[in-house]
């Protein structure tokens, strides 16, 4: 069985930077070459490559080289683990608050007795 702590290690650090978040958003729409990914940012290629390395090290993205073109891609399983956790938190709060709605309704009824 995979170690989920290792999987998630440094994921949040990787997503703590606006440049890296934009790269990940772009890659959610499909794979892209490094050159295209770097275009929207006003920084030198070496700085941009450092961001890509952090994303790759965190396991959020992978890259492969074909000829002279390096193409990046998101690793969906990493992102899914995080999304799933936030979805579950949302479900917990929704359920909990439905209980509170019912309780408030009952207490309101008790008050007017």
């Amino acid at each position: 069985m995979e170690n989920h702590s290792t999987i998630l290690d440094s994921t949040f650090h990787a997503l703590s930077d606006p440049t890296r978040r934009m790269v990940v958003s772009r890659l959610m729409r499909g794979p892209a070459p490094v050159k295209e990914l770097a275009k929207p940012f006003e920084m030198g290629l070496p700085s941009f490559l450092k961001h890509l390395k952090i994303l790759e090290d965190s396991g959020l993205i992978t890259s492969r080289k074909e000829g002279r073109v390096r193409t990046c891609e998101v690793r969906a399983d990493r992102l899914e683990a995080i999304e799933r956790w936030f979805d579950e938190q949302r479900a917990i709060w929704e359920s909990r608050y439905r209980n509170l709605d019912n309780l408030l309704m009952n207490l309101g009824g008790e008050d007017t007795k």
Partner: protein, 167 residues
């Protein structure tokens, strides 16, 4: 019945926080009581199909609520909420954490800070809860546990079971 009450859930991954905003059909004093009195908390705090069981409650700055969420098989998930600041009936802040049945907080698991604010919205009450983790690493740990064996996965299993039983 599905009341059209405002609900807003925002997960800020860059800031390690969750912000939950919700409107309730009740006066602020009553909603405040539901959040701060254990006999009332026991009636709503755990998400279905779990139930809440209070071991002890000392609602004052420096005091804490020691409680368990209990699943239908009787498995208990203990937690402890340590109250830091209290301003009735406007807001309170507290430190959440996993504990055991004796109330000892698990030192290996990160704790989150809760800031809960209550405001009037005509004859309703508006509650905002901000849950923040100290760092990305803290949140990683909590998520990793949730995936492995936490409450959240228990809920999923139960949801699946309930769906099967309904079918």
């Amino acid at each position: 019945m599905k009341p059209a009450l405002h609900f807003d859930f925002v997960a800020d991954k860059s800031n390690n926080t969750i912000t939950v905003k919700r409107e309730f059909a009740g006066k602020r004093q009553l909603v405040w009581d539901c959040y701060t009195k254990s006999d009332l908390l026991d009636r709503w705090f755990a998400p279905a199909p779990l139930t809440t069981k209070t071991k002890s409650m000392d609602f004052r700055e420096g005091g804490h609520w020691h409680y368990a969420m209990v699943d239908p098989q009787g498995q208990e998930y203990w937690s402890r909420l340590d109250y830091q600041t209290i301003h009735p009936i406007d807001h309170y802040s507290a430190l959440d954490g996993f504990s055991d049945e004796t109330g000892a907080v698990n030192p290996d698991m990160p704790r989150s800070t809760w800031k809960v604010t209550f405001t009037d919205a005509s004859d309703h009450t508006f509650v905002q809860t901000v849950v923040s983790y100290g760092s990305a690493e803290d949140l990683d740990k909590v998520i990793a546990m949730g995936i492995k064996e936490g409450l959240a996965s228990t809920l999923n299993r139960l949801d699946e079971l309930l769906l099967q039983l309904d079918a």
